[in-house]
């Protein structure tokens, strides 16, 4: 009989004999993967959204007076002293008025009684794409507010800050659920294998005495851990995918989810999560054998 045929027979026998605890472990692994993958999916999508918003990020520096060409050059130099920027655009009072009127669309007649220079001139600064962190944007904003003749700097502070803290919170949740995944997969699998080893003590003792090699005895346990990891993580990812599809279907239409492209993991990410789960479960199985299966 070939080695692998014997091993698969042993695995099948083990699974039949301890199906209750095996099922519990499988469910725990699936649930851990589902929880982790769920938060990671939200986090990944938030990062994509953040990137997208970052592309549109611009700081508007409102000025007291409209700068002449010489002052414009000086301001430009001052801004560039802080850091390289993507673009610096000077907006005159008249341009500001025109833009505002355009934004109002059909309601622009409300501006009829207003003077055409009631809006302050401004500088639109579009930072480089690498200026991502909130602290850097804040520092840049403070720097711009100190420029001569500056009234105020705006970049949607509240919104950016809230988004930043939400993403940070999500990253903590992802870390916690990742830790949960590691602990549950390793310990639950290790515990199940330990139970199996105790339950089969007599058989293992006999196998040893009739000349079973270490590989013959250990491989089925390793394979059990591997199977727990593979099936458990696949179920977890598959459940999340079904949940994702359901949410997409259920909340399709003009809602928050449609503001941006909410997408599922790329196949490589799903594959990585499954591979890591398999490795963790096999590690759990291996560590138990090292501890409790002395051959």
């Amino acid at each position: 009989m070939s080695f692998w045929l014997t091993v698969f027979r042993q695995v099948g026998r083990n699974l039949r004999q301890t199906w209750g605890s095996q099922l519990m472990t499988l469910l725990t692994v699936s649930l851990s993967v589902l929880i982790f993958a769920f938060f990671y999916l939200i986090y990944a999508n938030m990062l994509t959204l953040g990137d997208k918003l970052g592309d549109d990020l611009s700081l508007i520096v409102y000025l007291e007076e409209e700068p002449g060409p010489e002052l414009q050059q000086q301001l430009r130099n001052k801004i560039l002293t802080f850091d390289e920027v993507e673009e610096i655009r000077f907006i005159s009072r008249a341009e500001a008025y025109e833009r505002f009127a355009k934004q109002l669309g059909q309601n622009q007649d409300v501006l009829n009684d207003m003077p055409k220079d009631f809006l302050p001139p401004s500088i639109e600064v579009i930072p480089m794409k690498n200026l991502r962190s909130l602290n850097q944007v804040k520092l840049f904003s403070t720097y711009l507010s100190r420029l001569p003749g500056t009234l105020k700097v705006q970049y949607g502070q509240d919104w950016v800050e809230r988004f930043y803290y939400f993403t940070k919170l999500l990253s903590i949740i992802v870390l916690l659920s990742g830790t949960l995944l590691i602990l549950t997969t390793i310990f639950m699998v290790a515990y199940t294998i330990r139970l199996t080893i105790h339950g089969r003590q007599a058989e293992l003792e006999l196998l040893k005495l009739v000349g079973a090699t270490n590989n013959y005895i250990r491989t089925p346990f390793l394979l059990e851990g591997l199977l727990q990891g593979a099936i458990g993580s696949f179920l977890g990812i598959f459940s999340l995918y079904m949940l994702f599809q359901w949410i997409k279907l259920r909340f399709s239409g003009p809602s928050f989810l449609n503001l941006f492209e909410f997408s599922f993991f790329a196949p490589e990410v799903s594959f990585t999560i499954i591979t890591v789960s398999i490795l963790l479960c096999t590690l759990g199985s291996y560590s138990t054998m090292q501890k409790f299966l002395r051959i």
């Binding site: 006999l206 196998l207 005495l209 009739v210 000349g211 013959y216």
Partner: protein, 221 residues
Amino acid sequence: MIKVSKEYPPDVVALKDISISIDSGEMFFIIGRSGAGKTTLLKLLCSMEAPSSGLIEISGKPINQLKGHHLARLRQRIGVAYQDFKLLIDRTTAENIAISMEVSYKKPQIIRKRVRDLLEQLDLSDKHDTITGELSRGEQQRVTLARAVANSPTMILVDEPTGNLDAATTEKVMTLLNKCHKGGATIVIATHDDSIYRHTSHRVMELQKGRLHGITGGELP
């Protein structure tokens, strides 16, 4: 075995300075009362336990230094019928016998045939699919013996093979062991049943309180 001793804590001396040499293909009897050290000696021979001192060699190799793969290979060549049977009581008779052949990766059809042959020789054909936990002590003893000889080992160690058997079944067990012996296997039988060694031409070693009391017989094959 050269000056082999075995002590169990705190100070129980199971064997003391035993030196013997058993030839390949020999049938060898170890006799003595309960507690004389017969079972301990068999356990040392199959490396189930390690001696406290002394040297045990099989085919010129010191067995207490063997580990891992080498030890497993050695154990595959030694068939042991334990006094406490060591049967898997939730498995069938056939599965219990097959286990010693499965570890050396014998083909399923060869295993099935060998199991059927052995069950027939030991008058257990009707117990093929019976769970061993449901067998009588005598039947369990025969299954243990069948498992010991199934893999055609070069050495067979048998501990009290006839303890629970009637005269007719004892005859069958001894016939099987003699057949293995004729096939070239070294047979070591530990027993206190004088009916199986009384008229033997083979060597008989007597142990008393863990010490070698004497060796009689000795027509080597």
